[in-house]
């Protein structure tokens, strides 16, 4: 009997319908297949064509932002409601990366049943580097540091890293670069196998990272053997060179320095072009030992001899230090010596030279024979060959004959050459580009008459100016930008400037890619064709600032020169970029152009503020204040602003002071430096001492690279603690008084070096108005101005003249009056003792008027072999007057003196001795810095 397999008897005795069970099984398998298939289908390439963009979100580490509130929204190439297009999503990713603050982006989408697509940007922002430290490891795995040990400091290690900086964004690529930089530094020190392991610690919110670079320098390369291959007969030099170059360890950087020392030593022995080449032969892959082969080629020894003049090697030294043709060097040396002679009045001097070769001694002697003849003063000046220009006009351009020196001492060739060039340029800018001017001296009775012979050449004019390709600007508008005009002279330089002006005007109108070329016919009446390819014009779109604090971003937005919708002017953008970079407000300042729409440029500005803090201390000495210590603190971009907070405390046995200032480089939208100060000090003067504290605000505006103006409003309370003169008016002992003062200052600095000037001028003027606000009876007006001029004279000297004047009205406190006398004003008297003296106390009283002149001639002291020593002869003339009405030019004291100076970077260290020309009593002064 066939068993009915459709039914089975279960353990419970109940029947099981097999057919039903099989159907269930098949059904479940089908469901499984269906669901699984759906799963795999879902993981195939998504295609959302035809979908509309729904919600857009930005998801960060700890938060989710919707598009409406996110700072990144302006970087997206699509918005809610747009049709889905993958290209827009990809472009948005590119823009987000350009922001420079994002480390990684993942885009996830969620399709909704109504064919809307929600987009999620999962963003990992870059961390900011909070600190970078190095740590030297003495041991790593199986390696231990052995001698010779590293001799570099931690500060040197940090100084070797350029690619990583605190308060900038952390990037892996920069870390790799920093490690390479450290390895290069260590290689230079002789450590060719350093191990550098970075340790990165992120803060809990991942916003900051602290980096520690663990450095195991490794084994320092030892020099096993140095072989010297010396090509030169003078073997006595070899031990000297060996002493300079030999070293037990091989540090390439140090070795290069030693080679430099060797070159200097050889130069002193008249070897001008030696060559020292080092070849390394490392023994092992780890470069722990090296053999060095040092090839030394001394080259010829040059000896310079002079007949007819003293040693002029200083003029020609540099020519012979390069490997050039000797004949050329010889002739060039002759020219330089001749020029020097002619600049010293020997206008018809002659120089000849010869080279004597001594193969035995390997020397070359270059002999310069000079026939100086006579020194000439300037005679008359003649001009010939001019037809197009009036002689009187040409004479007005010549300045050689204006010089007293040329007429009464000697004529300097340099001046003639300058005048010749001026005449040539005059002709050039008047349409004679091929004009040539020669000069010829004729000597008569100790004077040289100078003849300027002019060959004018052809005159070039403009016949027609044509434009091609211009659509935005009409012809007349383009011509208005140019200096070159039809029917006027043609000057190539001016025309080149015109082309540049056209380009600038197009760029200012948004034509960022304009190309302008010009064709000019070669004849004298020129036809000019200006070809213009305007390209596309762009408008300014959105300004997106990322990074920094909100205050800093607002500053950038306020200062940015273009508004949305204006023509995109890339020149203004570049100027803006330079200005902000030069302000040093930010560690990083990047501008990136984003072309979201075809005709619009959006600008992305990424900033990273400098939050550095500086601490300093020092000890110093100032003539009046004596010895004192200084403590200083400066914090940049404090409280998320763009201002600097600084504090300075100075403490000494005689005086103490402290200042806190809050400096802001921008006042509203302008580049005006604003400084709010709080200060307190205790000061000592010969006839008074006082305590003072106050508060003030000053604004400084730079007018140009050489000048600035300052306005300040301050209030301060003064208490005289000691008074050596008879008390009067506001000046009472231990009676504090308030001063509210408005101050205006203008400074123009044109000296080549403010501490050690050799040429240039300095001018300053100051007006101070004491306002009767808190002290109703105390008001004054005080004005001072000073002018200084420096110019170089003979023998490397400098002549300096200076004038200082001050005048005031009102009953000034002694603390505001003018004083003079001492090492920084009138050197023939003691501190503050020029001017009125209290007859009762014999103490200086100061005055309401000051007039002071200083004249100095400073020369280098050549007999002392060390450079930097100078001597000065000086005359000081001046006085301080009790009242402005007492001003009297005939009532001025005079002093003369001598000074010995040693030049330092902060000014000369001086020892002065001066005599009052009435009493002839000597006064000795020591000081640092110049008198004025």
């Amino acid at each position: 009997m066939k068993m009915d397999t459709s039914v089975l008897i279960s353990d419970t005795g109940r029947g099981i319908n097999m057919k039903h069970q099989r159907r269930l099984l098949i059904f479940s398998i089908l469901i499984f297949i269906f669901i699984s298939a759906g799963f795999f289908v879902a993981s195939a390439e998504p295609n959302f064509n035809g979908y509309t963009i729904g919600n857009i979100f930005f998801k960060f580490e700890n938060k989710i932002e919707s598009i409406s509130t996110s700072k990144y929204r302006l970087l997206l190439r699509f918005k809610e409601g747009d049709q889905y297009d993958y290209k827009n999503i990809r472009n948005s990713m590119e823009n987000l990366i350009k922001a420079g603050t994002i480390d990684n982006i993942e885009i996830r989408v969620k399709a909704r049943p109504n064919r809307e697509l929600d987009i999620f940007f999962l963003i990992t922002e870059k961390s900011i580097i909070q600190s970078i430290r190095t740590k030297e490891l003495k041991k790593i795995e199986d390696q231990v540091m052995v001698s010779p040990l590293p001799d570099f400091k931690k500060s040197e290690l940090m100084g070797a890293i350029y690619s990583l900086r605190e308060n900038t964004f952390f990037e892996e690529s920069n870390l790799r670069e920093a490690i390479k930089e450290l390895k290069t530094f260590l290689n230079g020190k002789g450590f060719f196998n350093p191990v550098i392991e970075p340790e990165i610690k992120k803060s809990s919110n991942h916003k900051y990272v602290n980096i520690r670079l663990n450095i195991f320098p490794g084994i320092r390369t030892k020099v096993r053997h140095s072989e010297y291959i010396f090509s030169g007969k003078n073997q006595t030099l070899l031990p000297i060179l060996k002493k300079i170059l030999d070293s037990p360890v091989y540090a390439p950087v140090k070795y290069e320095e030693n080679i430099g020392k060797a070159y200097k030593a050889l130069k002193k022995l008249d070897y001008y072009i030696p060559e020292i080449i080092v070849k390394e032969n490392f023994f092992d892959e780890r470069k722990t030992q090296v053999d060095l082969t040092v090839n030394i080629d001394l080259g010829p020894r040059y000896i310079f001899k002079y007949e007819g003049i003293k040693n002029k090697t200083v003029l020609i030294d540099q020519i012979w230090q390069k490997k050039v043709f000797e004949k050329w060097a010889e002739k060039e040396s002759e020219s330089r010596i001749l020029l020097d002679l002619k600049n010293n009045g020997y206008l018809d001097a002659s120089v000849s030279s010869s080279i004597l070769d001594n193969k035995e001694e390997e020397t070359r002697t270059i002999l310069f024979k000079v026939d100086k003849k006579k020194k000439y003063k300037l005679g008359k000046i003649f001009i010939s060959g001019n037809q197009a220009m009036q002689e009187s006009r040409l004479f007005s351009l010549i300045h050689t004959d204006d010089s007293f020196y040329h007429k009464y001492f000697h004529l300097r060739l340099k001046s003639i050459l300058v005048d010749r060039e001026i005449l040539r340029l005059f002709y050039y800018f008047n349409g004679f580009p091929t004009a040539s001017i020669s000069t010829e001296p004729r000597f008569v009775n100790g004077r040289a008459d100078i003849f300027f012979n002019i060959k004018e050449g052809k005159k070039y004019t403009v016949d027609m100016i044509l434009f091609e390709g211009n659509h935005f600007f009409v012809r007349d508008k383009l011509l208005s930008f140019m200096q070159t005009r039809e029917k006027k002279v043609f000057v190539q330089q001016r025309f080149d400037e015109d082309i540049e002006k056209l380009r600038i005007n197009y760029i200012a109108s948004g034509f960022d890619n304009v190309e302008i070329n010009a064709e000019v016919t070669p004849d004298t009446e020129k036809t000019i064709l200006v070809r213009i390819k305007e390209g596309k014009s762009f408008l300014m779109g959105d300004l997106i600032t990322i990074g920094g604090s909100s205050q800093q971003r607002k500053l950038i937005e306020r200062l940015f020169p273009l508004k949305k919708g204006e023509p995109f002017n890339s020149i203004k953008v570049d100027e803006f970029r330079s200005e902000i970079e030069n302000s040093s407000l930010f560690n990083e300042f990047h501008i990136v152009k984003i072309n979201r729409d075809p005709d619009i440029y959006d600008l992305l500005i990424r900033i990273s503020a400098d939050y550095s803090k500086y601490y300093g201390f020092g000890i110093g000495w100032e003539g009046r204040k004596n010895i004192r210590g200084t403590l200083e603190y400066q914090g940049r971009n404090v409280f998320g602003s763009y201002s600097t907070l600084s504090g300075l405390v100075q403490l000494g046995p005689k005086e103490q002071s402290g200042v806190i200032s809050y400096d802001t480089p921008y006042f509203f939208k302008t580049r005006i430096n604003s400084s709010l100060k709080l200060w307190a000090d205790y000061e000592i003067y010969p006839s008074y001492k006082f305590n003072r504290f106050g508060i003030g605000e000053s604004l400084i505006k730079k007018l140009n690279p050489n000048s600035y103006i300052m306005g300040a409003l301050s209030w301060y309370r003064t208490e005289l603690t000691e008074l050596e003169i008879t008390p009067y008016a506001i000046d009472q002992l231990h009676v504090p008084f308030d001063t509210t003062a408005l101050d205006f200052t203008y400074v123009n600095e044109r000296r080549d070096d403010p501490f050690n000037p050799t040429q240039g001028t300095f001018f300053s003027t100051d007006v101070k108005i004491g306002l009767p606000i808190f002290e109703k009876k105390y008001s004054f007006v005080k004005a001072t101005w000073s002018y200084q001029r420096n110019f170089p004279i003979f023998n490397g000297g400098v002549l300096t003249t200076s004038m200082r004047t001050g005048i005031a009205s009102g009953d000034l406190s002694i603390t505001e009056r003018f004083f003079a006398g001492g090492y920084n004003s009138f050197r023939a008297s003691r501190k503050d003792r020029l001017g009125p003296i209290d007859p009762n106390t014999d103490s200086p009283m100061g005055g309401n008027a000051l007039l002071l002149f200083n004249f100095e001639a400073t020369f280098p002291i050549s007999i002392i072999p060390i450079s930097g020593f100078y001597y000065t002869t000086f005359i000081d003339i001046g006085n301080v007057y009790q009242k402005a009405d007492d001003f009297d030019l005939t009532n001025m004291k005079k002093g003369i003196g001598l000074s010995l100076k040693y030049k330092t970077r902060m000014g000369p260290l001086r020892f002065d001795v001066a005599w009052d020309m009435k009493t002839w009593k000597p006064e000795f002064q020591i000081g640092i810095g110049n008198v004025f």
Binding site: A42, I97, R108
Partner: protein, 221 residues
């Protein structure tokens, strides 16, 4: 009972699987794209890697993991991008420059129709395809002009290879060696290829060192 258990197993199995997947995806989102690398401020995404694998038909080596394969393709894409940026202003790409790469891609995909079908799956048109291969075209052109031309194989190198490599290998195999003259072209081709590769590697390394390259794929583990 047995079939009931099987029934519930097959019903629950996919549910269990999908349930696990749902918790990872969180809000039922799927990944559309992700950053794989940046070269200066230009990006390469996962999608670029996948397209490159399929369009250029790049084969995955046996025993090579997916991660390593993706990294290898990414390195190639970075090379193309670096070269394209470096020589952007010095080079104009003509149609004939595209022809070679296009032909190769069409051949590897079987036919133009199949290539177009593939492009459509990515939502790409023919112009998008040309944009996609532009960097590779530029790369190959620069290679031709700069690297390959530099390489020259002197006869002494060919002779040296013949004597030190070819002859001994033929001896070991018990084969009759061909003459130097006969083997020269083959040896030259081989040596040229080797040297080109060396030059290329050195040149690329130097070029890449002047670019800021951030590889995000390397951090994925």
């Amino acid at each position: 009972m047995y079939f009931k258990k099987l029934f519930f197993f097959f019903i629950l199995l996919p549910v269990l699987v999908t349930a696990k997947t749902t918790s990872v995806i969180e809000t039922d989102t799927i990944m559309l794209d992700k950053l794989a690398a940046t070269v200066n401020e230009e990006i390469i995404t996962y999608s670029d890697i996948e397209k490159a694998i399929r369009i250029f038909s790049i084969p995955q080596a046996e025993n090579q993991s997916d991660n390593d394969f993706y990294k290898q393709v990414l390195e190639d894409l970075i090379d193309y991008k670096v070269v394209a940026i470096e020589y952007k202003n010095d080079m104009v790409l003509e149609d004939e420059d595209y022809d070679l790469i296009q032909s190769s891609v069409i051949e590897k995909n079987g036919s133009l129709e199949r290539l177009n079908a593939l492009l459509r799956t990515y939502g790409m048109e023919w112009t998008d395809f040309k944009s996609f291969i532009r960097e590779k075209v530029a790369y190959e052109k620069v290679l031709d002009k700069l690297v390959k031309i530099k390489v020259s194989i002197p006869f002494s190198d060919i002779e040296n290879y013949y004597n030190t490599q070819y002859l001994p290998s033929q001896e070991n195999l018990g084969l009759q060696p061909k003459s130097l003259i006969e083997m020269s072209p083959e040896i030259e081709t081989y040596l040229r290829k080797e040297q080109t590769q060396q030059e290329l590697t050195g040149w690329l390394k130097q070029l890449r060192s002047s670019y800021k390259i951030e590889n995000k794929l390397g951090n994925e583990n």
